[in-house]
Symmetry: C2
Subunit: 174 residues, 2 copies
């Protein structure tokens, strides 16, 4: 097991500011690019991360730590941010993500105060019993995969532009 | 063609600061993690980006713009940073990348001053004649693929920790 709460928080606390620095102020051609019909642009990835801060990770952590469990996780809609599209400008959405994440990390640290909590379980709607430490590791990996998704979306915007180099770029050869 | 010099520079100028913010101060368990024998850790990816600033993109741009071409590209060793390993602490390596990139973007803007330059060509050692605009687009995509690589390396550090969620994470299913 590599999971370590202190190290997990190191990544979780950096993600919003990293994305803010990388994306805020970019031209719309970058922020509005997507990978085709039914795929997300970078701004929509931020909206998904916001939705996860609101209705996924902390509510699931709370479900696990609630007495008398294991309890079923509250519902989470992966497409809520598409169903309820926002008109907010990009920098406001990033700011919302930053604020929610900061508040959630405070909450996390007040909820999880001992390693004994790590083995507590909740019931995932698809794969049944899962441990708190698996959920917390997943929160980190979820950040990482969505940062990667954003770089992939942006790279695809230039897929036809790079000519022969395409064969060297993993995004285009998976 | 989506390539646009102004938009390309928007990304190129953000990459070093983004990686600095995301990685500096992380525990060694994150910075020293790799994907197994013969693969790079996050710090080595920065070393590779430094090497590219020194011996890849700008020298190739100069070769393309030199009169009397098309000229062959000067040699580039993709593994130079592994052959000549550095002992510098991580924050010094990131700082070197930031400084080199800033200087190179100034150079780029002094070298490429008209769209007519975009169609000029140089000779790549493997795939022959390539255009300046393809090389410049590749510089951007190269940044993006290495940011993604770093997130993948870090995610793999938790691959065994996330349990059933592994099936949802693209890094682990390619």
């Amino acid at each position: 097991m590599n999971f370590n709460l202190k190290e997990a928080i190191e990544v979780l606390k950096r993600t919003p500011q990293t994305l803010d620095y990388f994306l805020s102020g970019l031209s719309d051609s970058w922020l509005q690019a997507d990978e085709g019909e039914g795929t997300w642009n970078a701004a929509e990835v931020i909206d998904h991360l916001i939705e996860c801060e609101k209705t996924n990770f902390i509510p699931r952590i709370e479900a696990i730590l609630q007495e008398g469990g294991p309890h079923r996780f509250p519902p989470f809609d992966r497409f809520a941010h598409i169903t309820n599209k926002t008109d907010e400008p990009f920098h406001i959405r990033v700011l919302e993500f930053k604020n929610l994440r900061a508040a959630n990390l405070e909450k996390l640290q007040s909820l999880v105060d001992s390693e004994d909590h790590f083995e507590r379980t909740g019931i995932h709607p698809e794969f049944g019993e899962v441990k708190l430490r698996e959920l917390l590791s997943t929160w980190v990996v979820h950040d990482l995969t969505h940062i990667s998704q954003i770089t992939r979306i942006m790279a695809k915007h230039y897929e036809q532009d790079i000519g022969h180099w395409r064969q060297y770029i993993r995004f285009f050869n998976n």
